[in-house]
Symmetry: C2
Subunit: 422 residues, 2 copies
């Protein structure tokens, strides 16, 4: 069945608020196997909304609106939708009682009680986090129409607890999808490696770019979730084989999650010493709940004196090789590992820009990983590519995480920098 | 003039990605005085996009697309838009040279070079943060069509630097706006303080919520930029007076920018010791180019042993008061200030969740600021409010920055935590 989502709200049209509702609703509709071809946003204007509803019913079987259900004058979704569906509004007693209880002891004016007026014969979706209920109904022409509130904290639970169960009777099949995440390979190069795998209709494979990363999403539709997953699994496995060591996980949240989990599994302790990344690596690691099991010490050494003081980086190296040198990165990694009594030490030094230092190009960043036996070095040369500070800092911290991942899993390429020598 | 925004991308229709592009574009179009009545999203499907473009040109004078400009096969916005506009694609030499320079030393395949193929006679918008350029053109029927990339970090600067100047020739009058940024006051409370100032039509004042912050945007429309600014200035000044010490800047990028600039101005050195924020404060400070003038040392002390080792936090305090205690925060701030020979030391310790520790509630976070003469303490009690880890870590680092700002500027309220005791 075809589905369409209409968001109502002038604040969305003016860009004052980012529309996240559409994504929440779309995800649920897609998981139910409905085919979403179009979503749109209109302002708080009854005539435009009426036109938009008419178009939507002409093309789709299911129409979901978000927003415009509140008590103020510009909330006109309910009246407009009811008219388009050929239904009258009448008072829903249970909702009225609920509103009166909600406002107990406070002023509950007629505009508040107006929220209990709902289209005749509809299924009411209670609002467990606000006042305006939602509803679902079948129009006189046999189309399915749902009205949901705009604020995400009201919408998301109503969607999950009431709207999805209501819609599930019409679901013909289930969508399952799985995401294979990779670091160190661009979206374009990955697409070239798997271009033949991207031709199918069910399951499908598609590439997506993320900041510094990419992922491949494999999706299938079938009668049951298990059957859809069974269609996905072999294709996902082929994608993983083609992308090899670039893949850091399937259906995982981030590179840092994978590294922290692997450190936990191997009972290893990590310590970091950062110059140009300024604590970003420590921050990404400590973003993960439970990181304290594997990470006790992170140092941000933003001057030569501090590198010498905290990490015992020899003054001679700083004087003769410079703060931005492989020798300094080595000494930082080794120094912090020893100081923290850790299994692994990471040292990062470089030029994140916008100014160059020591005549080194912006983007020249050295990342050292010391495991007590050997010190590995990854070099970002700063030749070509993007030069903005945020990007370089993030890429350097991702390279450090990728080195750790490869070292922990015994994979080759520990010293190969992403987006540089490939 | 009427404008419409079309976002292209199956990932948006499936709800895999929240569409923030529409809001970015809508805000700029509204600021130019264009009338946006409708926005929509279509998948990576040439036929659906062609239909949608046809409808859009029937209703609007200006159509802006976002997304689908990349190098892969499902990026079909350019071909489809060019066809709808009655234009051929031809190679844009400057873009081709730019792409070759970008990929210097790396593989730059035909799909990458395809990004230099642009509609004949268009105005090219260079992509300063990626590979796919955007463009603007007038169709054979006299409509204005712009194509912009999907990734926000490419879209936003292109919009500001190239698309808005391109569109401004059609704007009737100029919109000027100025943003007054505040920390420590909620959007609702701020709106109450300035409700009478929010009633005007030109200039207007409106409140917006940001993560942990809020801002007031004052906007006016006039014949020239100078005339519009002259309308804004007195209202902006009134807003600043009403919000008082909560205001940290006007048209500034962030709280950390203001703090780093003020430290530079006063030639002061800052050092940080972080537990539950895990380096986020150091990372926010070093995000600002030139931070090395005012920041040399940041420590992430994620265990008691490290707090003792690096900061000389007395073992007795850790044993009797606990790692999450005002005494530990004091000792961290004092210890790191002394160790770094800095003017200011910040110490942060607390429970960011999801697990509690030492029987303290999630959200109980202590932030100490030591200036060598006095140590200030801000306490986030963890009572009420949001409990998610990212939010709490960000709010704690913002509280630290706000303490520094108030101390540097001699403002009261150094020890008053945001969103707690107000």
């Amino acid at each position: 069945m075809k589905a369409e989502i209409i968001s109502v709200g002038t604040e969305l049209l003016l860009g004052q608020v980012v529309n996240s509702d559409t994504a929440y609703v779309a995800r649920e509709l897609a998981a139910l196997g409905f085919d979403i071809r179009y979503t749109c946003t209109v302002g708080d204007n009854a005539q435009r909304l009426a036109e938009t509803l008419k178009n939507a019913f002409a093309h789709s079987d299911i129409v979901v609106t978000t927003g415009g259900l509140g008590p103020t004058d510009d909330d006109l979704t309910k009246q407009t939708c009811a008219a388009a569906a050929g239904k009258k509004l009448c008072c829903h007693e249970e909702t009225r009682r609920r509103l009166e209880a909600y406002f107990e002891g406070r002023v509950c004016g007629p505009s508040q009680l107006n929220q209990a007026m709902l289209p005749q014969g509809c299924t009411v979706f209670p609002n467990d986090h606000g006042t305006a209920p939602g509803c679902g109904l079948t129009t006189e022409e046999g189309k399915i129409l749902l009205m949901l509130p705009g604020p995400p904290r009201e919408l998301v639970p109503m969607l999950r607890n009431y709207a999805v169960p209501y819609l599930s009777r019409w679901a013909d099949g289930v969508i399952f999808s799985t995401s294979i995440r990779a670091f160190g390979i661009g979206e374009g190069s990955a697409a070239e490696k798997i271009s033949d795998l991207m031709q199918g209709a069910n399951p499908t494979a598609a590439t997506y770019a993320l900041e510094n990363e990419m992922y491949v999403r494999v999706t299938a539709k079938a009668k049951t979730k298990e059957a859809a997953q069974a269609l996905c699994d072999p294709l996902a496995e082929k994608v993983r084989q083609r992308l090899g060591g670039f893949v850091y996980g399937t259906d995982v949240a981030s590179l840092e999650v994978v590294v922290v989990e692997e450190l936990k599994k191997q009972h290893k302790l990590l310590a970091t010493a950062e110059s140009c990344t300024g604590g970003l690596l420590a921050q990404r690691i400590t973003d993960i709940a439970g990181a304290s099991q594997v990470f006790h010490m992170g140092l941000v050494t933003y001057s030569n004196a501090v590198k010498n003081l905290l990490l015992d980086v020899p003054q001679e190296i700083l004087d003769t090789k410079g703060a931005v040198s492989p020798e300094t990165a080595f000494a930082m990694a080794q120094g912090v590992r020893q100081k923290a009594h850790a299994d692994f030490g990471v040292g990062i030094t470089g030029v994140a820009g916008p100014k160059t230092s020591e005549e080194k190009p912006v983007g020249y960043i050295l990342i050292a990983l010391d495991d007590g036996e050997r010190t590995y070095l990854r070099t970002m040369t700063g030749r070509g590519g993007r030069k903005d500070r945020d990007y370089l800092r993030h890429l350097a911290s991702s390279n450090a995480l990728d080195m750790l991942r490869r070292r922990l899993l015994g994979l080759p390429g520990i010293e190969t920098a992403a987006y540089e020598s490939r």
